[in-house]
């Protein structure tokens, strides 16, 4: 588990990545727009670089070509010797690691913002690594305060003992935005505008930090995974039912033992048989059918985030 120290220097090298999954259109179109009109990503203390993470998948409007790029940023893939038969995304992950990393090194980018959409009703969700991710959590807090009407939720994705596998783990700090619901291959104006505004506010926050703002301690509520639930399946492994209408679109709402979770094609309801309340996320995400995930079960936790002191200005050069 990585404990990410709070930055002691201004963040200068910042990237905003879209199209990690080539059919999540909001990030794709934002990056394409910024590549032509980069002024929007400039701030007084730095300029962010737009990155189209998976060009081949974007061109084909598919999630990936050979394997999920967002699961490929582990040291196993990044450090293994390249071969001509490597899956497209493994080669691409190494390229991105060169560009934005190397992961866990002093040369890595200061911050990467990763843009995603989901077919699930995720609303506005910020995905950080863990409760130790102090900088990212202060950023989430700032976004929540700037957009009170949006009901922004925080998801801490790292499971203990597991290495981080996603793009934002390559840089020294990172965050993912996950907005939904939006179908794959569709560009909705409301989701697009919201994502654009959130990116602007992320960059504003980094600039505030760079300019020497202090951020006080606060209590944060977040969701952490405790398990996953697959769809009911036949012996052959095919779907035998789907997400129950009462669970559909109820991401972040409490799920109690005895609540219906699946409806079989033959008509019966399957009920949740866990022992305690969980908070389901990514309910009926299209890309997770092949991963055997109908929804992710999470627990809600509240914890203190320590204050982030203002950067001490660098000593002025001797005259």
């Amino acid at each position: 588990m990585c404990s990410l120290p709070v930055p002691r220097e201004p963040l200068r090298r910042v990237a905003v990545a879209g199209g990690k999954h080539g059919n999540e259109m909001s990030g794709v179109y934002l990056v394409r727009h910024w590549l032509l009109a980069p002024a929007e990503l400039q701030r007084p203390s730095f300029s962010a670089v737009p990155v189209l993470a998976n060009p081949a998948a974007t061109t084909a409007c598919r999630r990936y070509v050979d394997r999920d790029l967002n699961r490929t940023f582990t040291s196993t893939f990044l450090n293994s010797r390249p071969t001509p038969d490597d899956p497209y995304e493994v080669t691409r992950a190494r390229e991105l690691n060169q560009l934005l990393g190397p992961k866990a090194s002093g040369q890595a980018f200061d911050f990467v913002l990763d843009l995603h959409t989901s077919t699930a009703n995720m609303g506005t969700c910020f995905i950080a690594e863990s409760s130790h991710d102090v900088f990212a959590l202060h950023l989430c807090r700032h976004l929540q305060l700037q957009y009170p009407e949006l009901s922004c939720q925080v998801f801490l994705y790292q499971r203990s003992g597991e290495e981080s596998y996603s793009l934002d783990s390559v840089a020294k700090n990172g965050l993912a935005l996950e907005l939904g619901p939006q179908p794959q291959g569709v560009l909705r104006a409301d989701i697009f505008s919201r994502m654009r505004a959130l990116v602007a506010t992320v960059l504003d926050f980094i600039d505030l930090f760079n300019q020497g703002t202090a951020f006080p301690t606060f209590e944060m509520e977040a969701y952490r995974p405790v398990g996953i639930m697959d769809f009911p399946r036949t012996e052959a492994g095919n779907l035998a039912g789907t997400v129950h209408p009462q669970l559909q679109d109820q991401d972040f709402q409490p799920l109690q033992p005895g609540d219906p979770i699946f409806q079989m094609f033959s008509g019966e309801d399957l009920l949740y048989e866990g022992e305690s309340t969980v908070y389901p996320l990514f309910i009926n995400e299209a890309a997770y059918y092949e991963k055997g995930v109908a929804f992710v079960q999470t627990e809600k936790l509240t914890f203190s985030v320590p204050a982030m002191p203002a950067l001490t200005p660098a000593p002025s050069p001797a005259s």
Binding site: C61, T119, P181, P183, G185, V186, L187, R188, N284, Y289
Partner: protein, 330 residues
Amino acid sequence: MSLQNLNWKSDKKLLGEMTSCHIAEEPIKKVAIFGGTHGNELTGVFLVKHWLKNGVEIQRTGLEVKPFITNPRAVKKCTRYIDCDLNRIFDLENLGKKMSEDLPYEVRRAQEINHLFGPKNSEDSYDIIFDLHNTTSNMGCTLVLEDSRNNFLIQMFHYIKTSLAPLPCYVYLIEHPSLKYATTRSIAKYPVGIEVGPQPQGVLRADILDQMRKMIKHALDFIHHFNEGKEFPSCAIEVYKIMEKVDYPRNENGEIAAIIHPNLQDQDWKPLHPGDPVFLTLDGKTIPLGGDCTVHPVFVNEAAYYEKKEAFAKTTKLTLHADSIRCSLH
């Protein structure tokens, strides 16, 4: 059969030919339900797979109802198609091409399907084919009609709409000299498109499944009542007829330069007036509807239509009438 009956039948047939209207008399015998014509439109895929294992729900006395997966390779990959869109190639040219391994997968498949359920335009073809689809657009329950003079189908659609009420059910008429396309179901005598949305590609929603299931149930009930000799008096239905397809504004590289305006998003079927916002450019400018007539947009922001250069289709609302129909067995 007595001579009197024969004369009645031949007069009716002559009358039908003279007035160009089908007055169905023969009972319906062979019905097919197609799913997976687009492999990532999951409701039809899973309904058909379920009915292949347990077909009780779709059985009606005296009627053969065959569920069938039309594009199994696309279904396996959960993609719309492998080489080309199966739902656009059931024209006589493609159906008549010499079979070879070099043909696109879907063209070979179309010929197989034509052999099993057609041949198109012959007496042996299936009476009715229901083709099950989903859309990412907010179209609700939609029935697709290919021929505005088809009494039997207008009567069926009237029955389905009435049975589903108050749940709205819209009828989309794709009869048009150049915009009509050669659908998988067009090999049947009575082709019926069933489209339910909004549902993302690759997702199976329980509420959408329930709606499509009900549409099929009412359709089969109608056929059963018809075959039993029930008379359906003359009726009228509101339909939306395709006028024109509208593409996204694009830049010199062919990339989309504007997206469906928030005011139009999810507003399928609702009236759109000249001057109403239609697109929003990436720079924040609104592009309004031109022209001088109110239209009813459909397939607003359908994922699969970005590559077909269709942001939405304009339709005009009109009323179709059907004569009374009754099966001749009674």
